[in-house]
Every structure is written in structure tokens, then in C-alpha cells.
């Protein structure tokens, strides 16, 4: 039991990070119907911003400042790269996003003249004794912290979408982009905000990864992005709640698969296990576990 709980707790924290990034992907997808391949790399660049700001201000403030920076960058990317290219050919957007993925991955080391991982202060207490003991398993504060941050952010997003005019506009654009201008919604602004918001959430995710790793590195989001994409897919790609639950579930399952089957799966196939899961799920339910049946755009 203790072993199970241990895998479970650690898996949930990994999963919380998947959830954050999956939320970003879902927000973008709902807005403009694109899969943003560069979402993980945007989060990585944001983590570098947090690291940079953190040299001259308290680390939590730095994370918030980095998330705001990410919001602006995300909005600008939508306005000046994604939207104009999308008007020319939707397929070209896929390639543009891949270009962003490659470019942003290279940009952080270029901009800050660093090639090695840079030290990043933990956002939560992480001394040797900072944990609670539940059923024989230890749950470290820093891991609990990540889960809490994700849940709070997800709750705020839920309120934003359900209780505000901006959220209503975003849901309207997601539901019927052709009709949205007919009620006076500025679709372009909504899309910019969607991308900005997604980058904001992703930036928080990036900061959490940096906090766990206690460093920032250009490759830090690479595998995480694919698990997050798997979580978004499992959640049906248009459901915020689905993204949160699927992220947590995949995190837990990956950890247990690697822990209980060290020979069959182990660390080598750890991340592949979640991808295998989505392949199987999609066979049974072609639009994910929580996805609504609707017309899709690529």
C-alpha cells in the first residue's frame, strides 16, 4: 500500500504539470482549432524569463512576471504569425508552429548566452524534512505545492470561462466562430487573448518544472509536451475538466507503470506508456474520453 501511495503521489505531481500544459493546448484549440506544437517551448522560454527575473526579485514575483510576459508573447505570436498564415493555408500553420517549436527551443540559449542548465530556486519548501507521511508513503511539500497551484489555476480558469463576459466570448468563438462576429464579438481579440492565456498557463507549468528540476534547460519541456498532448487528447481536446483529469491520470499511470514493471516498462518506456494509452483509448473512443462530437478543423 505504501508503495502504491508513493507512486501515486509522485505521479499526481507529474500529472499536475501535464494538466497545466494540456490546459494551454485546450485553450488554444478551442479558440482557433490549432494544435500548438510550440506550447511546450513557449513554456520553456517563460521559465527562462522567470529564472532571469528571479535574479533581481523574489522568485514567486519572478514567476508571475514571467507568466505576464508569456501572455504578451503568446498574443503577439497569434496576431502576427499564426493568424496571417492561417488565412493563407491552414496547413501552413502546422509548419509555422513547427518553425516556432524549433526557433524557440534555440532562442533561450541564444538570448541568454547559456548552454548548460541554469540553477533555479525551488518554489516550495524542499528541505530533507519537508514532507507529510500518509499511509507509510512520503509526500513532499514541493510536490503537493505543484498540485495545489494547478488546481487553483484550473479553478480560476473555470470561473473565467463560466462567469465572465470574456469567458463567454471565448466559449462563443469556440462554439461557432462564424456567428461570433454577428453578436459583436471581436474574434481577433478573443483569439489573441486565448493564445495569451494559454501561454500564461503554460508559463506557470514551465516554472513548476523548473522548480522540480531546480534548474532551467532548453530541453526541459520536450518529453513533457508529448505527455501533455496525450492528456489533452485523452480529455477530448475541447474540455478543460477533461484536460485536468487526464493529465493527473496519465501522470499517475506513467509513474505506476514504470514503478511496478521496471523490466517491461521502466524508465525507457515510461513516457511512451501514456502515448500507448491514448492510442488504445482513441481506438475505442475516437474523440477522447470527454470530447464532444463536433465538426473539426485541422
Amino acid at each position: 500500500m505504501a508503495r502504491f501511495l508513493q507512486y501515486f503521489f509522485n505521479g499526481l505531481s507529474n500529472g499536475a504539470i501535464y494538466s497545466l500544459l494540456a490546459l494551454s493546448l485546450v485553450i488554444v484549440y478551442r479558440g482557433s482549432g490549432h494544435l500548438n506544437f510550440a506550447q511546450g517551448e513557449m513554456a520553456m522560454v517563460s521559465a527562462f524569463f522567470a529564472w532571469w527575473y528571479g535574479r533581481s526579485m523574489p522568485i514567486w514575483l519572478a514567476v508571475i512576471a514571467a507568466a505576464v510576459t508569456a501572455f504578451v508573447l503568446g498574443a503577439l505570436i497569434e496576431r502576427f504569425i499564426i493568424r496571417p498564415i492561417g488565412l493563407r493555408s491552414p496547413f501552413a500553420v502546422v509548419v509555422a508552429a513547427i518553425g516556432l517549436f524549433l526557433g524557440l527551443n534555440a532562442l533561450a540559449p541564444f538570448a541568454w548566452r547559456v548552454t548548460n542548465p541554469q540553477p533555479f530556486k525551488s518554489l516550495f519548501p524542499n528541505d530533507a524534512g519537508d514532507f507529510v507521511r500518509i499511509g507509510g508513503a512520503t509526500w513532499r511539500y514541493e510536490r503537493i505545492g505543484i498540485l495545489v497551484v494547478m488546481l487553483v489555476l484550473a479553478a480560476l480558469l473555470f470561473l473565467l470561462f463560466q462567469r465572465t463576459k470574456l469567458g463567454l466570448s471565448m466559449r462563443a468563438v469556440a462554439s461557432n466562430p462564424e456567428s461570433a462576429p454577428l453578436v459583436g464579438i471581436k474574434t481577433g481579440q478573443v483569439l489573441m487573448v486565448s493564445w495569451g492565456l494559454a501561454a500564461f498557463v503554460g508559463a506557470v507549468g514551465g516554472a513548476m518544472v523548473a522548480s522540480v528540476n531546480t534548474n532551467v534547460d532548453a530541453a526541459m519541456m520536450f518529453t513533457i509536451f508529448f505527455s501533455a498532448a496525450a492528456a489533452a487528447t485523452l480529455g477530448g481536446f475541447d474540455s478543460l475538466g477533461g484536460a485536468v483529469l487526464s493529465g493527473l491520470a496519465l501522470g499517475a499511470i506513467e509513474n505506476m507503470a514504470a514503478g511496478y514493471f521496471p523490466d517491461l516498462i521502466g524508465q525507457e518506456l515510461r513516457f511512451s506508456s501514456s502515448l500507448l494509452i491514448i492510442m488504445i483509448v482513441l481506438l475505442v473512443r475516437p474523440s477522447g474520453l470527454f470530447g464532444s462530437q463536433r465538426v473539426e478543423r485541422v
Binding site: 463576459k165 463567454l168 466570448s169 466559449r171 462563443a172 469556440a174 462554439s175 461557432n176 462564424e178 456567428s179 462576429p181 454577428l182 453578436v183 459583436g184 464579438i185 471581436k186 474574434t187 464532444s292 463536433r294
Partner: protein, 236 residues
């Protein structure tokens, strides 16, 4: 009667294909104007050109303001709302959210009251306020589409074939609704229709559209007596 909407030399189309070849028409303040026409005459294109959802040329003056270059969302803010063909409801949103999204441009605090009033007017929508709009029947969705458009408090309502695909009884109910909006709130209405009989009953004036040009115009009463119109559009 002063003209609320004055359209002159309106040309519009899709890509290289021009559908409207220079229309002139007006909608007076407080008037119901019907544009009749067969399939492909350019009725929907006319509505879309006025509401700014397609590329158009020519002069479109609404309430003294040239709206011919405004984007669709700005035209709603100016006071022109559209009930699109095929209803254009937000099917994933609840019935209530559909009404609220209609009022998204409004800054006043009376949105809640207006939502409740609509639920009184259409009790069937009230019963389903929490349901997704996509689960409504065609007639209910059309009511919702009209209610949603009116939620933005427009002075001019553009209706694109609201009778399409609906049972005759429901169509009559919808048209009575439009008449009431016109009478009680002084809302001007530009209606394009194939269903000429009912439309001419509530209209003040009629334009007949043929292959992108205005072929005839006149008072609803006069046009009703016109033999050629009767044969072509009224069928008796």
C-alpha cells in the same frame, strides 16, 4: 418617414463571383421591409453585405453613419443585428448563455431582466434555459436566434429566411413575434424571404430581387395586387 438604412449601388459576392450588381434600397425608421426572391437571387448575400460578413462595395448608410467599411462586430455595436440563415446558434452553449452572448456588447445592467423577459415571451426556452442550444428543435432554435439578436438592443434587425425548414404554424408564430417587436419597440426590420405570403402580410414595403438586381418595388398592398408578382411569388 426618414430612412434608417440607405443602401446605394451595393455590389457584393464571393471571391471572383459577383452576386449583387448594384442594389439600391432603403429601410425607413420603424418600417418592416421584405426582400423577395427565388433561390440564388442574392437574398442572403444582401443580408451578409449589410451586416459586414462578406466583402462589399457601394454605400451603406445606417442612421447617418457609413457602415459600408465597418467589420461585422462593429456593425452590431452600431445597432444592426442579424439573424443568420440556418440560425447560427452557439450549439455548445446553454440557451441562457446564448441570450447573454447576444447582449455581450451592452454596457447597461439590465441584461438579467431582459433574459427573464424573453423566457416569459418564449416559455419553451425558459424551460430549457440550462440545456445546450443544440438540443433544441428547429423552431425553438429560430426563436432563440431572434431573441439573441434582439438582446443587443438593435434599432435594425436583419432576418435571413427565418421560415426556412419550419412548420407553417411555427412560422406564423415567428412572424407575429417580429410584428410585435416592430410595433412595441419600434424596431425596424429587413426581412428576406421566399415565403412571400406571410412576409407580405407583415411588411410595409417590398422589394423583388432577381439575379442580383432589384426587379420591382412598392407598398406591400400594391405589390400584392400586381399580377406578375402574384404569379411568381404568391402562387395564385
Amino acid at each position: 418617414m426618414t430612412a434608417l438604412l440607405e443602401v446605394a449601388g451595393l455590389q457584393a459576392g464571393y471571391g471572383p463571383v459577383e452576386v449583387l450588381h448594384g442594389l439600391d434600397f432603403t429601410v425607413g425608421d420603424g418600417e418592416i421591409v421584405v426582400i423577395l426572391g427565388a433561390n440564388g437571387a442574392g437574398k442572403t448575400t444582401t443580408i451578409r453585405a449589410v451586416s459586414g460578413t462578406i466583402h462589399r462595395r457601394g454605400s451603406i448608410v445606417y442612421d447617418g453613419q457609413d457602415i459600408g467599411r465597418l467589420a461585422a462586430d462593429a456593425i452590431v455595436v452600431a445597432g444592426v443585428a442579424q439573424v443568420p440563415q440556418g440560425r447560427g446558434t452557439f450549439v455548445d452553449l446553454s440557451v441562457e448563455d446564448n441570450l447573454r452572448v447576444g447582449a455581450i456588447t451592452r454596457k447597461d445592467g439590465a441584461v438579467d431582466e431582459d433574459v427573464d423577459r424573453w423566457f416569459e415571451v418564449f416559455p419553451r426556452l425558459g424551460e430549457r434555459r440550462g440545456q445546450k442550444a443544440g438540443s433544441l428543435s428547429g423552431g425553438e432554435q429560430q426563436m432563440l436566434a431572434i431573441a439573441r439578436a434582439v438582446m443587443s438592443k438593435p434599432r435594425l434587425l436583419l432576418c435571413d429566411e427565418p421560415s426556412l425548414g419550419l412548420a407553417p404554424l411555427i412560422v406564423e408564430e415567428l412572424f407575429r413575434m417580429l410584428q410585435r417587436l416592430n410595433a412595441e419597440q419600434g424596431m425596424s426590420i429587413l426581412l428576406v424571404e421566399q415565403n412571400a405570403n406571410l412576409a407580405m402580410d407583415i411588411a410595409n414595403r417590398v422589394y423583388v430581387l432577381e439575379t442580383g438586381r432589384i426587379a420591382a418595388t412598392g407598398d406591400a398592398a400594391t405589390m400584392r395586387d400586381d399580377d406578375s408578382i402574384r404569379k411568381a411569388y404568391l402562387g395564385y
